[in-house]
C-alpha cells in the first residue's frame, strides 16, 4: 500500500439524477482530508465518467446515485472500465441503494456501498486503509 502521494478520486453523478447534496459534501470533505478530488458535475454519461477516470489517472471512482438506476448504470460503468483497461480502479457507490442490491453491486466488483447517514470520517478512513491500486 502506498502511503505517500495524494489519492486521486473522481466523484460522479451519472444519468439524470440531480440530487447533489451528498456528492458536494463528500467532495469538500475528501478535499479537506487531503485527497485530490475531481467532480465534473451533473448528468455525466457512463462513457464520460470512464473518460474522466482515465484522463485524471484516478485511484478511485465514487458514483453517487439516488434515483434507483444503480443496477442499470453501475454495470455499464464497470464494463466500460474493464474495456478501458481500468479494472484496477477502486469503485465506491453512494446514495440510496436497497439492502438487497448491495451484494449485486459487490459481485460486479464495487468495493463498498456507503448509504445515507454515513459519517464522512468513515469514508476517509476507508480510502486511507485501502490506498491506491493504480499507484501501488
Amino acid at each position: 500500500m502506498n502511503q505517500n502521494p495524494q489519492l486521486r478520486i473522481v466523484l460522479a453523478k451519472v444519468g439524470l439524477d440531480g440530487h447533489d447534496r451528498g456528492v458536494k459534501i463528500i467532495t469538500r470533505g475528501l478535499r479537506d482530508a487531503g485527497f485530490h478530488v475531481i467532480y465534473p458535475g451533473l448528468w455525466q454519461s457512463p462513457e464520460a465518467v470512464v473518460r474522466t477516470v482515465a484522463d485524471e489517472d484516478a485511484d478511485w471512482l465514487g458514483i453517487s446515485l439516488l434515483s434507483g438506476t444503480h443496477l442499470t448504470l453501475v454495470p455499464r460503468i464497470m464494463e466500460l472500465l474493464k474495456q478501458a483497461g481500468l479494472a484496477h480502479v477502486g469503485v465506491l457507490v453512494g446514495g440510496i441503494i436497497p439492502e438487497a442490491d448491495i451484494p449485486k453491486l459487490a459481485a460486479l466488483g464495487v468495493a463498498r456501498v456507503f448509504g445515507p447517514g454515513t459519517p464522512l470520517p468513515d469514508i476517509v478512513d476507508f480510502l486511507r486503509s485501502q490506498g491506491s491500486r493504480t499507484h501501488a
Binding site: K13, G15, L16, D17, G18, H19, D20, R21, K24, I25, T27, R28, G29, Y39, P40, G41, L42, W43, S45, S67, G68, T69, L71, T72, L73, I96, P98, E99, G115, P116, G117, P119, L120, P121
Partner: protein
Amino acid sequence: MATAMDRKLWEQWRAEIEKAPPPVQPATTVSSVPIEPLYTPDDLQDVDYDSELSYPGQYPYTRGIHATMHRGRLWTMRQFAGFGTARQTNERFHFLVQRGQTGLSTAFDLPTLMGIDSDDPRSIGEVGRLGVAMDTIDDMRQLFDKIDIEKLSVSMTINAPAMIVMAFYLANAADRGFDWKKLRGTIQNDTLKEFHAQNEIYFPPEPSVRMAIDVIEFCTHHVPQWNPVSISGYHIREAGSTAVQELAFTLADGFHYIDECLARGLAVDQFAGRLSFFFNAHNDLFEEVAKYRAARLLWADRLRNHYGAKQESSWKLRFHAQTAGCSLQDKQPEVNLIRVAYQALAAVLGGCQSLHTNSMDEVLALPSEHAVTLALRTQQVLAHETGVTNTADPLGGSYFVETLTRQMEAEARKYFDRIDELGGMLPAIDRGFFRREIAEAAFVYQREVDAKRKLIVGVNAYQEAEEKPLEILSIDHAVESEQIATLRKRNGERSQDDVARTLDAVRRTAEAGQNVMPSLIDAARARVTVGETMGALADVLGRCDTAVV
C-alpha cells in the same frame, strides 16, 4: 424598567441556570441558530400587536390567512404520488381518493422532469421509476381517467417542461368537456429553484423564467382558479439550506416572478392572489413555525407596500408543506413515522393550507400502499384527535416563537439586500450565490452530525445491531419497455404533417416573443411529445448544459 418583570426574580433564575450543567447537545436549532434558555416579556417589549401580528385573516397575516384557520376548514391532505405508467398512477389516485384524500398530487419521472422522452437514450433505467412517465397527451388522458377534475384539485410537480405539461392538461380537460374556468389545482412551474437547488434544467435561466411567466400569464387570463406557480423552498431546504435561506430565497424568487409579470403589463392584483408557495416541514418544530409566520408577514408587507397591491388576496401567502425527505433515515426506518408526525405538527401549527406527509419507507424506495396509508393516517390523527385545529395560531404570543419569528424576518431581509447588492436574482444565480450558500450550510450540518453535536436517532445515537427490513415497493422494469413501445406506436400513427406544422408554430411563437401556450396546446393535440416540443423551443431559447458544481 419599562417591563412589568421583577428583575430580582429574573436575576435569581439567571443565577440558578448558571449553576446548572450545560446542555447535552448545543442548544441550537436544526439550522444551528443558538437558542436562549428562556424567553420573557422583555423580548417582546417593542412588538406592536396590530401592525406585526394582528388577527388571523387580517394583514399582515402573521397569525394565518383565514379568520378561523383550521377550525373553520381543515388543510387539504394531499399525498404526492406517481410511478410507472399513467395507468398505474391512475390506480394509485383512485386508491388514495377512496381512503379520504382530498386532493391529488402528481409526481413525474426523471425523463419527464428533464424534458426528454421515454425512448431517449439518456432515459435508460429512469422511465416510470421516480414518478409517472409522460410523453404525450395520451398519457395525460390515461392519468386522469375517471377522475372528476372539476371537483378534485390537482397538483403537478413539473418545472422545466411545465408549460408543455400544462398544455397537455388543458387540452385534455377541454377535450373531456371540462370548463377551464372551473379547474382548480397547481403546477409547480418554479424554474428559479431549479437553478438554486433541484437541478432539473433545460434552458438558460432567463428563457426558463420567460416560459414560467407564459404559464402564469396564460392561466391568469384563461384558467383563473388555477395556481400557475408554486414558489418552492422545499427543494432548497432538501439541498441543505438553513430555514432562513429557505425562507429568503423562496420569497426572493417570488418577487422576481412578480417583477417579470409586471414587465408583461399585468397588474399585480390580476395575478398575485394565485401565486402559491411550497415549504419544507423539517424537524425543528419552533423554527419551522416561525418560518411560516415570518413568510406570511414578509410577503404581505412586500405586496402591499412595495408592489402596491390593493386586494387582500394578493397579500396572503398560501402554502403547501411537505415533511422533510432529507430527514428520513434508512436506519430503523419505522422511526421515520415519528419524525413525520412532528414535522406535520409544525406545518399545521404554522398554518399550512395543504400538506404531504412522507411515508416511512421513502428513503428506501417509492412508498408501499401500507406506508402511504400510515402517512395519510398521521394527518387524519392530527386533524381529528389532537385538538390542534381548535384555535388559530396556537403558538402566537409565545415569547419564544414570536422572538424567533422576528429574528427570521430580520435575517431574511438581510438576504434580500444581499441579492439586490449582487444585481438581482439572475445575476446572483450567474455568480453561483445561492448554490454556494446552500452547499456551505449543508456542509456545516453534516459536520455537526459527524461530530455528534447533532444526534440522529438510529444513525449516530441509539443504533441497533440488528435491523428488521421493511417490505418495499419494487417497480416492474417492464414499465420502461411498455412505455417505449406505446410511445413508438403512437408516434407512428400520428399525422406527421400536423407534428411538423405545430412544432413550427411553436418555434415561430417563441421567436416572436409571444406567449407560447396557445401553440403548445395545438402541438399537444397533434400528439407532439414533451421531448420534441422542448427541442423545438430550445432551437429558439438555447440550452443550458452547464452542470454547475
